[in-house]
Point group: C2
Chain length 624, copies 2
Amino acid sequence: MADINSKLEIGVTTGPIRGSRKIHVPAQTNPAIRVAMREIDLEPSSGEPPVRVYDTSGPYTDPDAAIDISAGLAALRRDWQFARGDVEEYAPREVKPEDNGKTGPDRSGGVPAFPTALRKPLRAKAGGNISQMHYARRGIITPEMEYVAERENLGRARLAEYTRSGESFGASIPDYVTPEFVRDEVARGRAIIPSNVNHPECEPMAIGRNFLVKVNANIGNSAVASDVASEVDKMVWSIRWGADTVMDLSTGRNIHDTREWIIRNSPVPIGTVPIYQALEKVGGVAEDLTWDVFRDTLIEQAEQGVDYFTIHAGVRLPYVPLAAKRLTGIVSRGGSIMAKWCLAHHKESFLYEHFDEITEIMKAYDIAYSLGDGLRPGSIYDANDEAQFAELYTLGELTKKAWAQDVQVMIEGPGHVPMHKIKENMEKQLESCGEAPFYTLGPLTTDIAPGYDHITSGIGAAQIGWYGTAMLCYVTPKEHLGLPDRDDVKVGVVTYKLAAHAADLAKGHPAAQVRDDALSKARFEFRWRDQFNLSLDPDTAELYHDQTLPAEGAKTAHFCSMCGPRFCSMKISQEVRDFAAKQNQPSTGFIAAQDAEKGMEEMSKVFKDSGSQLYMGQGEREHD
Amino acid sequence: MADINSKLEIGVTTGPIRGSRKIHVPAQTNPAIRVAMREIDLEPSSGEPPVRVYDTSGPYTDPDAAIDISAGLAALRRDWQFARGDVEEYAPREVKPEDNGKTGPDRSGGVPAFPTALRKPLRAKAGGNISQMHYARRGIITPEMEYVAERENLGRARLAEYTRSGESFGASIPDYVTPEFVRDEVARGRAIIPSNVNHPECEPMAIGRNFLVKVNANIGNSAVASDVASEVDKMVWSIRWGADTVMDLSTGRNIHDTREWIIRNSPVPIGTVPIYQALEKVGGVAEDLTWDVFRDTLIEQAEQGVDYFTIHAGVRLPYVPLAAKRLTGIVSRGGSIMAKWCLAHHKESFLYEHFDEITEIMKAYDIAYSLGDGLRPGSIYDANDEAQFAELYTLGELTKKAWAQDVQVMIEGPGHVPMHKIKENMEKQLESCGEAPFYTLGPLTTDIAPGYDHITSGIGAAQIGWYGTAMLCYVTPKEHLGLPDRDDVKVGVVTYKLAAHAADLAKGHPAAQVRDDALSKARFEFRWRDQFNLSLDPDTAELYHDQTLPAEGAKTAHFCSMCGPRFCSMKISQEVRDFAAKQNQPSTGFIAAQDAEKGMEEMSKVFKDSGSQLYMGQGEREHD
């Protein structure tokens, strides 16, 4: 066990993200609530204030935080939970051998139980409902909502500078997010705050079309002890680069213990697909799945603190044959497990039949539904077909059943969709699911580029995010080919962060463009360090720059390797601005074209008088 | 010189692209015209015919072709040119020391003249016009047009299978491309066939919104001898991965000789920005540029065979001050050179003033205009501003002047544009430039991801390609940071090929989806080799697969590392299909939902009788 622990200690990446400082901003409505963010300081020459950015990285990037993987993170939300007086501690369900797949001879090498998992689980007092939606609908603003409001307000203080522009396709993005706005969005089901009462380490975040577009990263798949360390590290690594939630898709053996290590150390919501573990408990034979085994698995994971469950309750018996006409059939694992169960028993899905009972469990722990699209298309050919939309309508029906019990819901979406068919997915989802947050995988906009599917899907993700999707599930370069390693996880997360940001810009999110403008201004003023630090991946930006101009001096040089030392197109722009200024124009002023002739004469004189030597020479900038 | 040559021999990548065969298809209208394509053979088990794909790689991927960089490629079009009887050979302009920047002491190390450049240049007989547009408008179908028609018809033979779907935003994409259709598109200026009479090695291709979306790759920037080899190799490397045209942006010394080596070995159209070389000839001092120096440079490059010239004639004196209000001013090198010249002399641009004289030269060699957008935005903040659109309207005015002399034109576009402002660019271009082909750089949809700008721009490129842009200028991961190396060139080209293909799919191009479906079917049937071979980058696809499952056996295994050997969601899909078949349904048949109950009963029985053991186990496919 010491080995395992030390491995874990070693495996996790800590320390500040290059060029930024961790800060904790007191919520305006409640200073006791301190919201984690990052600030990027700019060079003094800029005369600009630090740029504040959304931060998902948790205490791992805080030099003042003591990280002990074996102890887990601090229970940020614990006091809030008790203060509400509606929860009870109770004796947990006993961990059974089958929870870790150890019914037979253990070939796993063993994973140690999380050493300090002594805390008793919480749940709502008998018959109670502790979901954020339930509070919201009763008009209660929770600390979680206050935290979210402050967190989403990034940069909006500087909005005076901006006239908003964008096409939001009917979204209702406010100039400024108030706790009351958050409450209202959660109450009407248009946003969720995944927050299992047994995951108090989680920093509250919202998923909804009127908030910043979020990104999910998947980890898991490991089944041997030595992988627990790497899975925890992958979780920490993915949130370092911006993953807003993480799904633990671990299967095989040691599922229970692996998940405990991940949740106890995660500052972001954790999602799972419970049917995976239920399947393992019945020896991997789908037909042998029962409601009791599944229900027991939900309780097990609820007590550990899983924040949202993917439930494929929309894969109904009558829909299975619709997959027969497809080019690529059923590509969702959960979907095919349920399809197989339905086929074998010729019965309606037990998930569909027992949906209200599942909801009872969800509300007692405040777990959010992620209604799975088990019949999503697995190829361009199958996009937007009957099977897909038949399931979507059923997910809409189930959404209303969950809402009837004040349980939070989001809806999973495709998949593989050509660009011209993406919008229909968003429109049908909004219409059939009452604006419940949409959570899509890509979609991939072509099937011909395996090895580059983070890009084929990033194109679709940016667009569907613009249309209104609330969270984008990342795709890595290894999609369809193999298991993502640490580098793939980073590339996947950064690709999806830029896609989500492009969507926020296009929607006209008031906080989004501040960072683009700060980076562009830094670029124009040759503040190379600021350019690197303001980017989504400062390490790679500086690495690429240094491959051509490694000298430290180049970091302050008024040129780049594209244009070389003797020429730069940025220089003349600055001169044009200087001339404009000399014409008593503000530096951001505007010389109307019709006045230009006169202006040009004087500018020409100024230019010749100044006799300033422009850098001229080789190279190219932006291709011409 | 022997060194240089052997370097060149070594540097160039030859041999077939993995899994495909070079073929030459006789044009249906003229069997003497043999059109280069590639065919990908599928595993016999598929029972599928080979998949034919568009091929830009030239003789370098043809095992039967003898490649000698010092001799250059065969003059494919030479006979067609003479057959028209409207050209004359003449004594070329003498190469001057300043053409290679050798007026001062030569610090370059020297680049050898292309050894076999003995061929005399051709031009139209006095007062003549040999542009493809001129022929087209006189109703003449040239061999170039026949070649293009055959080349664009990829896969359309199999169209019987398809009902076309897509949103083309007013494009007129035919079910089948005829030479007459090509002639008509060129005649009306909606497509161009760049084909300088002195680049007979070029395989004809068309750029237009009713043809497949094309991709341009930029090379150049080198100024020392040793780089000539790497620049020629970069050209060959970029067309291997699918670049439809290549721009040589070489600057500094040895520009003339470097360009000669590239053109003589290029089977794709070569574009340049002549102002770069003109600037070098006047010692890099923009104010010293004159019409005479520029004109002499045009003749020099026309005689070498440059197929299209980027001319920044839209950067007019009155527009320069409009850049003063910008966040990032002028980011186009050519644009800032002209802006500086205008400022210094307080005169209207000599490119604008002498435009008709430039056109006289273009028509004598059949060089196409690529009217440069010197005032394109260099940041999200500056997108769609007055400076940009003022220039665009002028480019529209110049387009009509060029067309008045039957000279081919395309229009360059931005740049940096958030998603919600992209469509306006396309609409304004179509409206002001009379549907002349649009040729855009990206656009980048956010500024915050340096190091990933091939992706931030790939997102914008796919969308503007869908809206109607005819050619996409690639962006590499090094954009804004450094000079692209060989790997960057490949990533940039493949990223843009997938973006262009996503656009073709969304436009409903009849030939596009054949390849997606073939790859998806191979994926569904576990034909791993076919999956790799059908992808844009077979080498990377197989490499990624083998990182998890290197064994040769895994290439035929009915599972992948995502799902592992004991489970696969594809299997059940195939079972569902089998059951459907047993119900006397065609394998692509459809069981209506209302009949499903009955169908299910029988299927349930079939399933239990068959007692077939499904693979079940660990892992995940497409995230759930």
